[in-house]
């Protein structure tokens, strides 16, 4: 059977998009020599920087998971006045330009703001600290987790929960025995998206904390100071490590996607 033009158009677009994404990445990944890559990974600053990126992104994802799950559940199950507004607010961090996010957080974190004063009294430091980095990453990653978890909860019929309650289970028991086992895949996808977003954040972090240096900031600093040759190896290591981490996570957890 002759394939129609519609089919060819979709295939061509597919190829264009694959090329668009892969060409620059392949170029960058293959540019540094093996010896430079070896040297780079032995650099203590680089190791520290990549580890900080992974650790802070993971923390941001964990916080998003703990704080975001109840809200995602509420949004999935109930209808209330102003729900649209709340959903729009949750999406705000996606829309706001990254440096603006950094500046906004910095303004609240300093002693010029009442909240910043409270932090200062408590001895909590935000500017130039891991705490500050995690706060920024949580800010930008939250919407990704909440939206994914919300979708997951929405896909579970409320009747299942109603039956569970009629059989004697409290709301909490129902959530852990029925809702969670059925929604965990969506929540995991949300965590992965949130971490991915967090680990690649640059513009917001660099304003709040230049040191300690997360990997994207180090890559940028090295590029600005000494150029491609000095910064590419760090980029290659960061991308490789991230790819491996995410691949492992996906394989471990997303087998059999057809199971509801």
């Amino acid at each position: 059977m002759k394939k129609e033009p519609f089919f060819w158009v979709t295939i061509s677009c597919g190829f264009v998009i694959m090329a668009f994404i892969l060409l620059p990445l392949i170029e960058m990944m293959t540019a540094p020599s093996f010896s430079i890559l070896k040297e780079t990974i032995k650099d203590k600053d680089v190791i520290r920087s990549i580890w900080l990126s992974i650790y802070s992104a993971g923390s941001a994802a964990l916080i998003s998971f703990l704080l975001g799950t109840p809200l995602a559940y509420l949004l999935a199950r109930s209808d209330f006045q102003g729900k649209r507004l709340v959903e729009s607010i949750i999406d705000l961090p996606i829309v706001i330009p990254h440096p603006v996010v950094g500046i906004a957080i910095l303004s609240v974190a300093g002693k010029g703001h009442w909240l910043g004063k409270v932090f200062s009294e408590l001895g909590i430091r935000i500017m130039g600290s891991v705490t500050g980095i995690i706060i920024v990453l949580t800010f930008v990653g939250l919407p990704f987790y909440i939206n994914a978890a919300k979708s997951g909860f929405e896909s579970i019929s409320p009747r299942l929960e109603k039956v569970s309650r009629s059989l004697g289970a409290s709301m909490v028991s129902t959530f852990f025995r029925i809702t969670l086992p059925l929604a965990w895949r969506s929540m995991l996808v949300g965590i992965i998206m949130c971490s991915a977003r967090a680990i690649s954040e640059f513009g917001a972090v660099v304003i709040v904390a230049y040191h300690p240096m997360i990997a994207p900031v180090m890559i940028y600093e090295r590029f600005e100071a000494y150029g491609l040759k000095y910064s590419q190896p760090v980029a290659v290591w960061l991308v490789s490590i991230c790819l491996v981490l995410f691949l492992i996570l996906r394989i471990l957890t997303l087998r059999r996607p057809r199971e509801t």
């Binding site: 300093g110 703001h113 130039g128 230049y210 040191h211 300690p212 100071a225 150029g227």
Partner: protein, 335 residues
């Protein structure tokens, strides 16, 4: 009907070509020296020159509407490396330390170095700074040693203001006769309190994320910050104390990663030069003429709290001869 369409199309095309030609981009297009300055003019300058240069840009563009100035502010060493390492296109570079131009750009990327202004180091703070109502020119170093305050400076490897801050601290140890003061001060300033550009410290001060920061007096004035004026023996203002200043030495990264160079203390002197083989040579000359004019750029500097050299100067006659002839009238010779 057909003819009308062709006519309209032709007109639009002609208009497009005309606009394109008159708004020439800097790449490879060199304006003739006798023409009015036009095109794009790229200026890299020190962060501390941001506000005066913004005003200069406005006035210059008002005088020559065909020219479009694009400025990039950064630490001066970083700016120099953008030219020498990254080969970024640039017409003029103005540094907070003329020595940076000497060490990193001459002779491969620049031929001359015009010194045009001075400055001094001050310790800045705001209303929200801890111990702000106790600090004086006599006890500032004791305040900076306190564990519960946050104070910082810019990166010495990227910004002259950074190594100058360190020099002030070294000179203070000598001046106030407190051995070990320098090391103790550095111990109370973790790496998290360093930023690439000194101007970034201002927003940290203003939001209350930092209590004290080292800056140039001109910048403190321009941003309305409170500041402590230090004795001339340590504030790097006065060229007569150059011998004293020279006792402070700071090691910073050199031309290539892994190399280092020593910066010796010297009174703060700003330098400016044209980059060799720059995209807009004619425009650059015109701008320098305006900038170094005592009624032009130098006047703006004066008004903004940064004392200029009147006139600006090069160290010897030989260098003066290497300047474009249009600049001979505004540059003097002084060692």
């Amino acid at each position: 009907m057909q003819k009308k369409l062709i006519l309209i199309f032709g007109l639009v095309l002609a208009l497009f070509v005309f606009c394109r030609l008159s708004y020439a981009q800097g790449d490879g297009f060199v304006a003739k020296a006798s023409c009015e300055p036009q095109g794009t003019l790229i200026i890299f300058h020190a962060g501390s020159l941001t506000i005066p240069f913004a005003r200069m840009e406005k006035e210059f563009e008002a005088r020559y509407p065909k020219i479009d100035i694009q400025r990039e502010a950064s630490g001066s060493q970083k700016a120099a490396r953008k030219i020498s390492e990254l080969k970024k296109p640039c017409d003029i570079i103005a540094s907070a330390d003329y020595k940076v131009i000497d060490k990193l750009l001459i002779p491969n990327f620049a031929e001359f170095n015009i010194r045009f202004a001075t400055n001094q180091m001050v310790l800045c703070y705001t209303d929200t700074s801890k111990y702000g109502n106790e600090i004086t020119p006599h006890n500032w170093f004791e305040i900076l040693l306190k564990k519960d305050i946050i104070w910082g400076h810019s990166d010495p490897n990227l910004d002259p203001c950074g190594y100058r801050s360190l020099m002030v601290l070294q000179l203070a140890e000598e001046h106030y006769k407190k051995p070990g003061l320098y090391e103790r001060l550095l111990a109370n300033r973790p790496q998290e309190n360093i930023r690439p550009k000194s101007v970034e410290l201002i927003s940290l001060l203003q939001t209350g994320n930092m209590d004290y920061a080292w800056e140039y007096l001109s910048v403190a004035v321009q941003h309305g910050l409170k500041y402590i004026i230090l004795p001339d023996e340590i504030n790097l203002r006065d060229y007569r104390y150059d011998d004293r200043y020279a006792k402070a030495v700071v090691k910073v990264t050199g031309k290539q990663p892994g190399t280092f160079m020593d910066m010796k203390g010297r009174s703060i002197t700003y330098g400016v030069t044209m980059v060799k083989n720059s995209p807009n040579h004619a425009g650059a000359v015109a701008f320098l003429k305006f900038m170094l004019d005592s009624q032009g750029g130098l006047k703006i500097l004066q008004e903004m709290g940064q004392p200029p050299f009147l006139p600006s100067r090069v160290p010897n006659e030989k260098m003066k001869q290497s300047l474009p002839k249009e600049l001979h009238s505004v540059v003097g010779v002084k060692k």
